[in-house]
C-alpha cells in the first residue's frame, strides 16, 4: 500500500493539520504523571497517608469532605483519602505480578513457536486459540468464585487467560526476526534453542515484550479491580479500590467521594496505563502500523 504514489487523500475531509512527526502530546505527559503518582503512592503506601487507613471512627460514620478528612470518611468512619493511597499498593502489586508472569510464560512460548515452527508452533497456537476463544473475565469470576483461595489463585488464573495474546504478539515479532541472517548464523553455529531464544531473539524483540507487558498490566489492573468489586480475590476490609467501590456505593448520598474516589482512581490509572502502553507499543514494537 505504501509504495503506491500518494495523492492527497483528504479531498472528502477538511485538510488536515496533522504532522507526520511524532511528538509527545500533553495527554501523554498527563498520563505519565498519573502513573508516576500511583507508583509513588504504591511504594510509600500508608506512610504518606494523612490518617491510618484502617482506623475506624464509628461515632463519626460517613461524613462529607472536610479540612481534616479531605475526601470525607466511609461507612465505618475511615479516612477515604488515606484508604485510596493505601489501596494503591494493592491495585499495583497484583497486576505487576500478573504482567511479569504473563510475560515470562507467554514470551517463552511465543518465541519458541515463532522460532521452531512446525509441530511445536501449531501446538502452541492451538492452545492460544482455544483459550483466546473463551470469555476470560467471566471464566475468572467463576473459577475464583467457586474455588476460592484469595489473591494467589486470582493472579494465577489471570496469567493463564492473558498468555494467549502475549504468545500471539511475541510469536509474530519472532517470525519477523527468524528471516534475518543472525539467526541463521546462530543456528549454523549449533547453539541450543534456549540460548538462541534468550541470548539472540529476546534482546531483539525486547521492545515488543516491554510494551505488551505494560498492556498486560493494565488489563490485569482492570480485571482484578473488577473481581474485587464483586468481593472476589480480596479479603473483606482490605483497602482495595474495587472493594471500596462495592462497599461504599450505598452511602453515596452521605459522602459521594467514598464511591467516586475509587471509581476515578481505577479509571484514571487504567486510562493512563493504556495511553502510555499504546504509545510504548507504537514507539517500540516492530508491529508499528498494525492496528
Amino acid at each position: 500500500m505504501s509504495d503506491t504514489p500518494t495523492i492527497d487523500p483528504t479531498f472528502i475531509a477538511i485538510p488536515t493539520r496533522r504532522s507526520r512527526r511524532r511528538r509527545i502530546s500533553p495527554l501523554l505527559i498527563a498520563c505519565s504523571g498519573v502513573l508516576l503518582f500511583v507508583a509513588v503512592c504504591a511504594v510509600a503506601g500508608s506512610a504518606v497517608a494523612p490518617h491510618d487507613p484502617g482506623a475506624q471512627d464509628l461515632a463519626l460514620g460517613p461524613a462529607p469532605a472536610s479540612a481534616d478528612h479531605w475526601l470525607g470518611t466511609d461507612g465505618l468512619g475511615r479516612d477515604v483519602f488515606s484508604r485510596l493511597i493505601a489501596g494503591t499498593r494493592n491495585a499495583v502489586v497484583g497486576p505487576l505480578l500478573v504482567a511479569i508472569g504473563t510475560v515470562l510464560i507467554g514470551t517463552t512460548l511465543g518465541m519458541l513457536a515463532g522460532l521452531r515452527g512446525g509441530r511445536v508452533d501449531s501446538l502452541i497456537c492451538r492452545f492460544a486459540d482455544l483459550v483466546y476463544a473463551l470469555p476470560a473475565l467471566l471464566m475468572v469470576v467463576v473459577i475464583v468464585g467457586m474455588v476460592g483461595g484469595g489473591s494467589l489463585i486470582a493472579w494465577a488464573v489471570f496469567i493463564f487467560f492473558s498468555i494467549p495474546t502475549e504468545i500471539r504478539l511475541t510469536r509474530s515479532a519472532t517470525l519477523r526476526q527468524s528471516k534475518l541472517a543472525y539467526l541463521d548464523a546462530a543456528r549454523t553455529l549449533g547453539l541450543s534453542t534456549p540460548r538462541i531464544l534468550f541470548r539472540h531473539v529476546l534482546p531483539n524483540i525486547l521492545p515488543t515484550v516491554v510494551a505488551t507487558g505494560m498492556l498486560d498490566f493494565v488489563g490485569a489492573l482492570v480485571g482484578l479491580s473488577s473481581l474485587a468489586f464483586l468481593g472476589l480475590g480480596v479479603a473483606p476490609g482490605t483497602a482495595d479500590w474495587g472493594l471500596m467501590l462495592a462497599e461504599e456505593r450505598s452511602i453515596m448520598d452521605l459522602n459521594v467521594w467514598a464511591a467516586l474516589g475509587p471509581a476515578l482512581m481505577i479509571i484514571l490509572t487504567a486510562v493512563s496505563g493504556t495511553v502510555v502502553g499504546d504509545w510504548l507499543y507504537d514507539r517500540l514494537s516492530q508491529d508499528r502500523g498494525r492496528a
Binding site: 467471566l138 476460592g148 468489586f229 456505593r249 486510562v271
Partner: protein, 319 residues
C-alpha cells in the same frame, strides 16, 4: 468455495473440542470447590442430616467415579437437563430462562447503541481525520476502552441518576416505557467498552478506505459524496466492523455481570454472582456452560458473516 468448506469443518471441530473442555471444567467445579460435593450441594444441612446426604449422593450418583459422573451429566445436558437449583429446587434451565429476558433486553439495547452510535461516529471521525471532532472522538474512545464498566456505571449513576436526576439509577421499572427508561444507564455502561472498540475500528477502516485508488476514481467520475460514502467507503469498511460483533457479544455477556450488579438488575449476570455467593453450583455450571456456548457460537457466526460479506476472505487460505 472449497476453502470455505474446509474452513467451516475445521472451525466446527475446534468448536466441539472447546465446548467439551469447557464442559469438563464446568463439571469439575463441583469437586474443585472447597468442602465435599455433598456439602456443596446441601449446605450446612449436610452435617446434621445423614438421610438427606444419602439422598443427594443417590441423586447425583456421587459414589461413581468422576469421569462416569461427567458422562452422565453430559448426557443430561444434551437433553437440556442442567439439574436443579440448590436454593429453590426449580430446574436450572427454568431459573436461567426467567432471568434471561432482562439480560437479553439489556444486551440488545447496548448493541443498538454500539452500532447506531459507534459506526456513524467512527466513520465520520475517519473521514474527517485531524478535525476537532475526530480528536474529541478519539480521546473519548481511549477513555471508554480502558475504563471498566462497573466504574463507568457508578459515574453514570452519580451524573444522571443523582446529580441531574434525569433517569432512574436502580431497578427495572413497570411497563415497556418505564423499563426502557430504567435500562438507559445500564445499557450505556454496558455499551461503553464495545462502543469505543467499534468507533476505533470503523475510524481505522474509513481511514484505510479513503486512501484507496478506487475512491479517488469514483470521485474523478463525479460521483456524489453520498454515493462514495455509502457504496464505497461504508461497504468496504464493513468487514472490520462485522468482526467486532463477536467481541461485542463477549463484552456484553461478561459486562452484564458487573453492570447488573451495579444497577441492581435481576438478570443472568447478577444470577451468576448470587449463585456463586450462595454456592448454588448447578446454576453456576449451567450459566457458565450457556455463556461459553453463546460466545463460541457467536465467534463462529462472526467468521461466517465475514466470509459472506467479503469475498477476499474466502481465498485467504489459498493465497
Amino acid at each position: 468455495m472449497k476453502f470455505t468448506t474446509v474452513f467451516i469443518q475445521r472451525r466446527l471441530v475446534a468448536l466441539a473440542l472447546l465446548l467439551l473442555i469447557v464442559s469438563f471444567a464446568v463439571f469439575s467445579l463441583l469437586d474443585l470447590s472447597p468442602g465435599s460435593p455433598e456439602e456443596a450441594l446441601l449446605g450446612p444441612e449436610a452435617r446434621t442430616n445423614p438421610a438427606s446426604v444419602e439422598a443427594i449422593r443417590e441423586e447425583y450418583h456421587l459414589d461413581q467415579p468422576l469421569l462416569r459422573r461427567y458422562w452422565n451429566w453430559l448426557a443430561d445436558v444434551a437433553h437440556l437437563d442442567l439439574g436443579r437449583s440448590t436454593e429453590s429446587g426449580e430446574a436450572v434451565t427454568h431459573v436461567i430462562a426467567q432471568r434471561l429476558v432482562l439480560t437479553t433486553q439489556l444486551g440488545l439495547f447496548a448493541a443498538a447503541i454500539v452500532l447506531l452510535v459507534g459506526v456513524p461516529v467512527g466513520m465520520l471521525a475517519g473521514l474527517r481525520r485531524g478535525s476537532s471532532f475526530d480528536r474529541v472522538v478519539t480521546s473519548a474512545a481511549i477513555f471508554l476502552a480502558s475504563a471498566p464498566p462497573f466504574a463507568v456505571g457508578i459515574l453514570l449513576i452519580l451524573m444522571f441518576g443523582v446529580w441531574l436526576d434525569w433517569l432512574p439509577p436502580f431497578g427495572v421499572g413497570d411497563g415497556a416505557v418505564d423499563r426502557l427508561r430504567h435500562l438507559v444507564l445500564p445499557a450505556l455502561a454496558l455499551a461503553s467498552a464495545a462502543l469505543a472498540i467499534v468507533v476505533r475500528q470503523t475510524r481505522a477502516a474509513a481511514l484505510g478506505v479513503i486512501d484507496q485508488d478506487y475512491v479517488l476514481f469514483a470521485r474523478a467520475r463525479g460521483l456524489s459524496r453520498r454515493t462514495i460514502f455509502l457504496n464505497y467507503a461504508f461497504h468496504n469498511a464493513a468487514l472490520p466492523v462485522v468482526t467486532t460483533v463477536g467481541l461485542l457479544l463477549v463484552f456484553s455477556l461478561s459486562g452484564a455481570v458487573f453492570v447488573e450488579t451495579v444497577f441492581g438488575l435481576p438478570g443472568v449476570g447478577s444470577l451468576l454472582i448470587e449463585s456463586i455467593n450462595s454456592r448454588n453450583i448447578p446454576v453456576v455450571q449451567g450459566l457458565t456452560l450457556l455463556t461459553a456456548a453463546i460466545v463460541v457460537l457467536g465467534n463462529l457466526f462472526t467468521d461466517l458473516l465475514a466470509l459472506a460479506i467479503d469475498p477476499r476472505t474466502r481465498y485467504a487460505g489459498t493465497a
